[in-house]
């Protein structure tokens, strides 16, 4: 039985359309012109108990709006959403007891209170029995290293410490479903690792279902066997991450800085030229057909290279590629 189910989930916002400048603002004030914008447009998916699903898309794609509907903060314009068999908005309180949510860089803790006091207050709000509360604190200790944080007020914490505190506070009532909005944003590698370990541990140990939004491909590669991609409010892909990586993550870009003009250069096999600047050469290649070192060798034979760099495709470019490829990807997937 699915834990989360959305059917044709849609949220339309009515916004005032403004022309630029003071005149435009005044005009909008006197005679506002409204425009309907579908932030989430007929999105359907199901998530089973114990899954970790990456929910991705560029900024403004509709990720936060979807999560707000799943948590009961927003009411859908049309379509339906069910979490653990409930309507999250109509049965907001019952739903709230069983979910946890981390919203990006906002804190749900009290800025000036030492962390232990904030956590105790959260425990009381969710009515966590004292013995259970102590047990969970112990359980979280290993991965999150809470003991060094307990007496620090949130305002004095580093970003990484804050996120550890935030996660502990979100999971202290053992929610069955957790929504994590950018849990690793701005963190260094070590801190990211810690957060990912904790999410994995909660998922495996307690069977917590996790819906994760992120811009970090590393998060997705390490945590999410399945991803859902939305763009401009529409679901454009729902399926295994492996398929995406195979199909869209094969391309790399390599850039050379040269002392001489690069215009006359003969391109190595299996790559295409992207940028056309005199002292810079950017090539795109499929890493299943050739390698960076082969290309570098071929280029260096012909020209003096001062520097070079290799870029992996980022999420935004993958999403763009999928979008340009049309909805074929989604149709090819039995899940949706």
């Amino acid at each position: 039985m699915p834990v989360i189910r959305t059917e044709q989930l849609t949220k339309i916002f009515r916004v005032v359309r403004k022309e630029p400048g003071l005149r435009g603002s005044l005009k909008a004030l006197v005679r506002p012109r409204f425009e309907n914008i579908a932030a989430v447009n007929q999105v359907s998916f199901e998530i089973d108990a114990g899954e970790i699903v990456g929910y991705i898309g560029v900024n403004g794609a509709g990720k936060s709006t979807t999560i707000k509907m799943l948590t009961g903060i927003l009411v859908p314009t049309s379509g339906s959403v069910q979490v653990l068999g409930r309507d999250p908005h109509r049965q907001r309180v019952a739903n709230a007891r069983e979910i946890g949510a981390v919203f990006g860089q906002r804190t749900q803790l009290w800025w000036d209170l030492p962390f232990i006091e904030s956590l105790a207050l959260v425990g009381r709000i969710y009515e966590v029995p004292p013995a259970r509360y102590r047990q969970l604190l112990k359980d979280f200790e290993d991965t999150l290293g809470l003991s060094e944080l307990l007496h620090i007020p949130i305002r004095n914490m580093s970003l990484g410490q804050k996120m550890r505190a935030e996660l502990a506070a979100t999971l202290i009532h053992e929610p069955r479903v957790v929504y994590l909005d950018e849990p690793t944003i701005g963190l260094d590698l070590l801190a990211k690792e810690r957060i990912r370990d904790f999410i994995r541990e909660q998922n495996r140990g307690r069977g917590t279902t996790v819906l994760l939004t992120t811009h970090d491909l590393g998060d997705i590669e390490q945590l999410c066997p399945r991803v859902i991609i939305i763009d401009a409010g529409r679901l454009i892909y729902d399926g295994p991450i492996a398929t995406i990586k195979e199909r869209f993550g094969r391309h790399r870009e390599i850039t050379f800085e040269t002392s001489e003009a690069t215009t006359a250069i003969e391109l190595p096999r299996d790559c295409t030229r992207l940028a056309a600047e005199p002292h810079r050469l950017t090539l795109r290649f499929d890493r299943t057909r050739t390698t960076a070192s082969q290309i570098a060798a071929a280029v260096m034979e012909q020209i003096e290279v001062l520097d070079f760099s290799l870029a992996e495709p980022d999420l935004a470019s993958i999403v763009r590629q999928i979008y340009q490829g049309g909805l074929r990807e989604v149709e090819g997937n039995p899940r949706s």
Binding site: F13, R14, T65, K68, T71, G72, I73, L74, V75, H89, R92, V93, A94, A96, R97, I99, A101, F103, R106, Q108, W110, D112, L113, E117, S118, A120, L121, R124, I125, Y126, E127, P153
Partner: protein, 262 residues
């Protein structure tokens, strides 16, 4: 209900811990409002030295009116101050969402989130004024009077909170509701004096429209043996009426928020 009471206790204790972290801040906040009120009383005293009676009301009698409304104001100041900042502190920053993912009533959460110590000064000054006025006027302090005073002050506090809730609910549309709240709230300055000194329009407005009169003038009149008829007893009814109206406005605003997200 019991759950919310004990939960309020927990919020309150945690809030005190924060306040104790900033002790100087606490002391300044808790006393600054009292200086403000004392200033107001002094100004009135200077005026009343020249005119021994204000439309038939002596200085001590006006003090009773002044004191009662000051205590009522202190209740909203202490327990409902977060209504002021609902817009820019919670809605604009998106922090309000935090209340909606928790299994408790969002209005309760908003109010319990911050006990405001600035109101303590007003409570002390108001109480001192009422005690001073009552002893100067030889009003016997019986069980019945004490009970009447408690009801009057709670009624006044409820009216203050209701009006602030009503105006604060506009934050769901305007985001910054402070000007609207300020406009209504500030009319309580009129209720520091006997309503009989004003014209009919203001008197009616302060009785039925923005009913601060029930927080000061009507109960004071009753205690002074001045006949105001049924109005001496109607306060609680008016408070309940305005409270339910304000709560509806809040619910309406909340529904707007959950459909627009702004």
């Amino acid at each position: 209900m019991r759950r919310y009471l004990s939960l309020y206790g927990v919020f309150f204790v945690q809030r005190l811990k924060i306040l104790m972290e900033y002790r100087v801040n606490f002391l300044i906040g808790a006393t600054s409002t009292s200086f403000l009120q004392i200033g107001g009383v002094l100004a009135m005293w200077v005026v009343m030295r020249q005119i021994p009676s204000l439309n038939g009301w002596s200085f001590d009698e006006v003090l009773l009116v002044f004191g009662l409304v000051t205590i009522s104001e202190s209740i909203t100041h202490m327990f409902a101050d977060n209504l002021w900042t609902l817009g820019w502190q919670y809605i604009r920053s998106g922090e309000f969402d935090r209340f909606l993912v928790r299994p408790i009533d969002p209005l309760f959460h908003l109010l319990a989130d911050r006990f405001c110590h600035d109101g303590i000064g007003n409570l002390l000054v108001g109480t001192a004024l009422v005690v001073k006025a009552m002893s100067a006027l030889h009003i016997p302090f019986t069980v019945a009077t004490a009970l009447y005073l408690v009801i009057a002050v709670l009624t006044g506090g409820a009216i203050f909170i209701a009006l602030n809730l009503l105006t604060a609910s506009s934050a769901f549309w305007l985001v910054d509701s402070i000007p609207v709240t300020f406009l209504v709230y500030n009319t309580y300055e009129f209720a520091k004096y006997p309503l009989t000194i004003y014209g009919r329009g203001i008197r009616i407005a302060l009785t039925w429209l923005i009913p601060y009169g029930f927080a000061s003038f009507y109960p004071a009149s009753y205690l002074l043996g001045r006949n105001v008829g049924a109005l001496a007893w109607m306060g609680p009814l008016v408070a309940v009426l305005f409270m339910s109206l304000a709560y509806r406005a809040w619910k309406f605003g909340l529904a707007h928020y959950t459909s627009t997200g702004s």
